[in-house]
Symmetry: C3
């Protein structure tokens, strides 16, 4: 395959901004495969973009270039960067490249793939102050695709900006986390990693806000329609679903809703 | 052109699940053209997916590979399949290949193109129970794109699962069908095929729920704005539209609303 | 890169009509890069399509073919056209080709790139009266991609249809325009070109409906969250935004809402 370039923005599907960005990218002399990841990131939502990029980037072929334009600070002093993240094993290597504002959108990608190199992009004075995606990132992408040495893109950068990301907390009464993502089916992805499965099995109950979910399954179709269930999702986190329904509306959950695995013996619990 | 691969899912546009699926597919060594058909099939709606796939697949170049992931039974005992449908004439042939759950999503495609071959895919134990699209269908697609003989994908399969699909019924008072699809303009596609046009012309009236539509046109622009009209749609079925308006809201129609061509003489009708 | 083909329709994202259109295009013998601009143009909204096409087409590589199917008059006497717009300088040239109904969708593109040539497409009698995109434009695109001389597409055409487009008006009390586009962030793009910036600076106030916006910035991040601001947008027009909010809901604005730069001295104004 030719090199892959992905796009993740909050411009809105069908936005003319996306079209302009693509038009500029397609001036590259080298063929590439353009993939839309999303243009429907909620406006200015850096956390949502960080989740999406972190979840999906490792699946792409090594050498993929990801352009991420969720950039509420466009035109201000926030930096624009090129970065290469990756890991190199004896048999395989997985490098992913990024062009994006340095506002935390790579936070989760950095949890999965360590930083190898980064450069701060120069912003030409001719760039429109409100559209650095088109006027800075797209030309940089064309240069990268045309074979420019990343070292020529700008000065080296040591530390990329990271968002505070909720991690599970151990307390005397249990392990506490929160809902970090809700998918199109209404399934709740929690911050509790799959490695906590034995704790969940021992406890028998995941609390989601004020609700207790006590049915643990391997996949959705194993419980009756309408049942609220917990399971290990495909992203490697404990998830909550309602079979053939929506867990978000049923449980009144949203991003940030607290979840917990109680570690008290069942007879000592007060739900 | 290179080989075409299409994607139809209910993951939601901009979903990270779609991105992961694409990322895995792009590991194929052979270039291909990736086309999104839809990621906004209503969640778990196998009928809607069957309509979309059946309507669109014959238009693609012979040899296109369609990946369909609308899979409420993911991880249960339902089968995953590779299938080749097609017809071969003296001058032309049209083969379309599919990778999908065997849950009926090919029902309408099979009406248009007979089954030539099918294989049941092996599900490796390492596959996430909730995401066979990523962990079974995508690797199978990569194998097919890389030239693997479909015979190596799994054991042969004779009969693919078919959904019950509403077909028109002849009664003493007329021909009865129902609304099977509503497009983005609010136009109602009915289960009454275009071959019933002479009957509609003789009758002069299509009943849609409790409404009678009496204006038959060749195309939307032939009647005044706001008029409810019947016409032969581009899919080969009798359709109902409101010129520059929405037939679904005007007539209170939805998927399943009964429609009928009365065959009584007009003087004997009671609408 | 291979030749680029873009699609702009009001069929709805995920519509089977889009899939059929793509399927037919992919029968071209020559490789090309297919780019979705939008399938979510509001139904029948020729003005919105004209904005989107005019805004985005100059950004694409010279020689790009844009297929635009927003066609409320499908099947009636309105013409279907192939057109080449462009400008040729000593150092650069920018040709963009179009296949579309001649209903005004090229109005804004023609403001940016003059007409070089146009042909009226022949409509074969076999074309479905309701889907000329699939049955006329797609085959014409395949012919163009396969190298057919545009002269063979149909008879030459001198004048393409243009919509009336709102242009700013000078009155004794100021410069009057209107909101011509609202983006996914709720930002208001006005019909007042960036060249009016000195007038806006002198006036210090842009009236939007009944509201006065008095903070002029270079980019969104320069004012506090919640502030209504004016700025020069990336499209070359005066825009109105609410920092980290939506200007459309805050100011009750919609397409067509009047805007004005008052030229009276501030002490004589009655807002």
């Amino acid at each position: 395959m030719t090199r892959v370039v992905t796009l993740t923005t909050d411009f809105g599907s069908g936005s003319g901004y996306v079209a302009e960005l693509k038009g500029r990218l397609l001036h590259a002399k080298t063929p590439f495969t353009l993939v839309d990841i999303s243009h429907d990131v909620p406006p200015h939502d850096i956390h949502a973009a960080a989740w999406l990029v972190g979840q999906s980037c490792p699946a792409f072929p090594s050498g993929t270039l990801h352009i991420v334009v969720v950039d509420p600070g466009v035109g201000t002093e926030r930096r624009l960067v090129w970065a290469r993240l990756g890991e190199h094993g004896a048999l395989t290597s997985n490098d992913q490249e990024f062009l994006c504002p340095d506002n935390g959108v790579l936070t989760l990608a950095l949890e999965r793939l360590p930083q190898i190199a980064a450069r701060r992009l120069h912003v030409p004075s001719s760039a429109a102050a409100t559209f650095h995606g088109r006027d800075v990132l797209a030309p940089a992408a064309v240069n990268v695709l045309n074979g420019m040495n990343p070292g020529s893109l700008g000065d080296p950068l040591d530390n990329l900006t990271r968002l505070h990301w909720p991690s599970p907390k151990q307390t005397p009464t249990g392990v506490h986390g929160e809902v970090i993502h809700i998918d199109a089916f209404g399934n709740l992805v929690t911050s509790l990693p799959a490695t906590l499965l034995p704790r969940l099995e021992a406890s028998g109950c995941l609390r989601v806000g004020r609700h207790g979910v006590t049915t643990l399954v391997r996949t959705y179709g194993e419980a009756a329609a309408g049942t609220a269930v917990t399971l290990i999702g495909s992203q490697g986190f404990i998830e909550v679903a309602v079979v053939e329904g929506r867990a978000d509306t049923r449980l009144g959950a949203h991003i940030g809703t607290p979840v917990a695995i109680d570690t008290l013996a069942p007879e000592n619990r007060r739900l």
